[in-house]
Symmetry: C2
Subunit: 149 residues, 2 copies
Amino acid sequence: MRISARTQYALGAMLALAASDRPVHAERIAVTQEIPRRFCDNILLQLRRAGLIHSQRGPDGGYWLARPAKEIALADVIRVTEGAEPVIRPFSPAAAPLTEIWSRLRNHENALLNEITLADVIAAEPLTDENGGPVARRSSRGAVAGESV
Amino acid sequence: MRISARTQYALGAMLALAASDRPVHAERIAVTQEIPRRFCDNILLQLRRAGLIHSQRGPDGGYWLARPAKEIALADVIRVTEGAEPVIRPFSPAAAPLTEIWSRLRNHENALLNEITLADVIAAEPLTDENGGPVARRSSRGAVAGESV
DNA sequence: CATTATCCCTACTTATTAAGTAGAGAAAGG
DNA sequence: CCTTTCTCTACTTAATAAGTAGGGATAATG
C-alpha cells in the first residue's frame, strides 16, 4: 500500500474542490492543502487533462469539479496520478502461483477505491478517528465506507 | 499494490528452499529463480539475519528454512525485504478521513499475506491460471488461497 | 487597449529509493 | 593448505519521485 505525495496532494486538491460550490484558485488550494505552489499547478493541470476538473483563466478564474463529488471515486483520482499499475510477472516458474495472489490483492483494493467517492470522504466526521471510531460513513453509491478495522 | 524486484526474488528463493528437503546453494537458487548472482547472496543474507533461514559454509554448505514451510507466511518474507510500511499521514485536515481508508486497505492486505504460507503456494497447481482456474488451494493454516478473482 | 490576475505548457533540476556490483574475509571439509 | 561456499561492508548505477523555472495565453476590468 504505497501512496505517492503527488497522489495525496491530488486527493487533497479534489477534496478542496468538492467542498466548494464555486471555482477555487490554485493559490488557495496550495495554501489550504499545504501543497508547494508550483507543484500544485502541475498536479491540477494533470487532473484537468484527465477530465476530472475544469478550469477558467483570468481574474475570477479557478478550478472546479467536472462531475458531482459523489460521482468521482478515489480510484478515478489515483489512476490519474499513479498511472496504470504495472502487472507483476513472476521471474521464475516456481513463483508463478503468486500471480494469483497479487491479482486478488489488486482487485480488492480497486473494488474499495472505486466505491468510495469524494462525497463520502467529505461526509466523514473529521477527527473521529481520534477515539477509534468510524471516519467514513455510508457511500452515496451504496458502499459502506467505515467500520471494522 | 507494489512489489519490488527484491521482494519477488526473496519469495522465489524462499519457495526454492521450501521445495527442497536439503540445503540449497546460493548458486543454484540464483540460477533456478533467475536472480543476479551477487544480488542473490545479498538477499539470502538479509533473510538469514531476519531469522527466516539458516545457512552453512564450506563444501556441502547452503541454505535451508528455519521453520517448516507451512509456518512461514508470505508476509514474513515481505516484511523483511520491504521493511516496515510507512504510515501515511495526511498533509491537510481535509484529507484526514483518508487515513481510515488507507488503514483498511493495509489491514486487508496484511490479513491475506499473513494467512498464505510458502507451503500453500507450493501446493498450488502451476499454470492452472492459464485457463482462468484457481491457482492457490486451501491454506494449511485455514485460509483459502484461491477462487473469486 | 493596457494592465493584471489567473491558468497553461514544456522542460529542467534535485532528492530519494531501488537494483545491482565489488572485494576481501571466515568457516567447513577433504 | 586448498577449495568451496557463505559473510560482510561498502560502493555504483539506474529509475522514479518531488519539486522548480520561465515564459506564454486568456479573461476581466477600467
